[in-house]
Amino acid sequence: MPNLYEVFDHLKATCREYYVLADAVQRLRDAVHAGQVAAPPTTSLRDYEAARRRLEPTYIVRLWSEFESALRSYRRFIVGNPIDNIRAFDLINWAQGIKEGRQVDDGARELVHEVREYRNSLIHERDDMAPGVEIEEARRRLSTYLSKLPDQW
């Protein structure tokens, strides 16, 4: 049985994992730059910069995946259709009407759509990148929207 607080924990854990890796990459990059350790064969400092730059977007995608899975799970529970294929855009709008858990400000939906747009532009490498959302802010927005759901379903 899916549990709201377990989903919150997964979102938190995703962010914490990102913080650890970001710190590790930065320290390793600095150590390579200072000549304290050797970079792996065929790599250079430029690759460390790329890894550092692309790490947060990777974790934004993972964060979104946790959020969307939880919301889809709740929708399947409500509509009783195991192969429900609603688009993410419509799923978020559908969730606006949920009143099983906490009251959430109407503006929360648009904040979630901004995260979705950013995630989509990362996945599809669009030329017109959506404005970025920092991972902690993304987690806060997604957790807030999910708090509409009941404790368990």
């Binding site: 549990n3 709201l4 607080y5 377990e6 919150f8 924990d9 979102l11 938190k12 906490r102 009251q103 959430v104 987690r139 806060r140 927005r141 957790s143 807030t144 708090s147 404790d151």
Partner: protein, 149 residues
């Protein structure tokens, strides 16, 4: 032998001890919060740990004047740390404080300044003994930072 090593010898006994400790903690905090005007309710959530498997832990939800805080156990066995229980501010699940079981008693590390006289750097290292006054100061400090639901 470290605490973590001694815990892994009998996972079932270990889990039972942890759940008893959590149950006592929830009852204690529930009583203190209610004394200070927080409405409370209990819930559960599953946790998964490598040694103990998947099992349910108790949660405590506390609400006052539209501000909601949840007491949420994280893990019995964590590398380099003792039992960990977190306090989060709803609805964004923001960090409020962490409770650690050390040397036979609970200690609290708050994300918010519970004493303005203590600097941020000193607060980082500060782990206060768990007690009614400490919990209420932490709940009040978190409530002051919160946007009511």
């Amino acid at each position: 032998m470290s605490t973590t090593e001694s815990r892994t010898r009998n996972p079932e006994a270990d889990k039972a001890e942890w759940l008893n400790r959590l149950s006592a903690l929830v009852s204690l905090v529930k009583g203190w919060a209610e004394e200070s005007g927080w409405r409370t309710r209990r819930a559960v959530k599953p946790v998964v740990e490598e040694v103990l498997g998947r099992y349910e832990v108790p949660l405590l939800l506390m609400e006052r004047d539209g501000v909601e805080i949840v007491l949420s156990p994280l893990a019995r066995i964590t590398p380099g740390a003792d039992d960990v229980v977190d306090l989060y501010l709803m609805p964004a699940y923001d960090d409020v404080a962490s409770l650690f079981f050390e040397n036979g008693r609970w200690r609290v590390h708050s994300a918010f300044p519970v004493d303005p006289a203590i600097s941020h750097s000193a607060r980082e290292a500060e782990r206060l003994p768990l007690g009614e006054a400490t919990i209420n100061r932490i709940l009040d400090a978190a409530a002051a930072h919160a946007q009511p639901l």
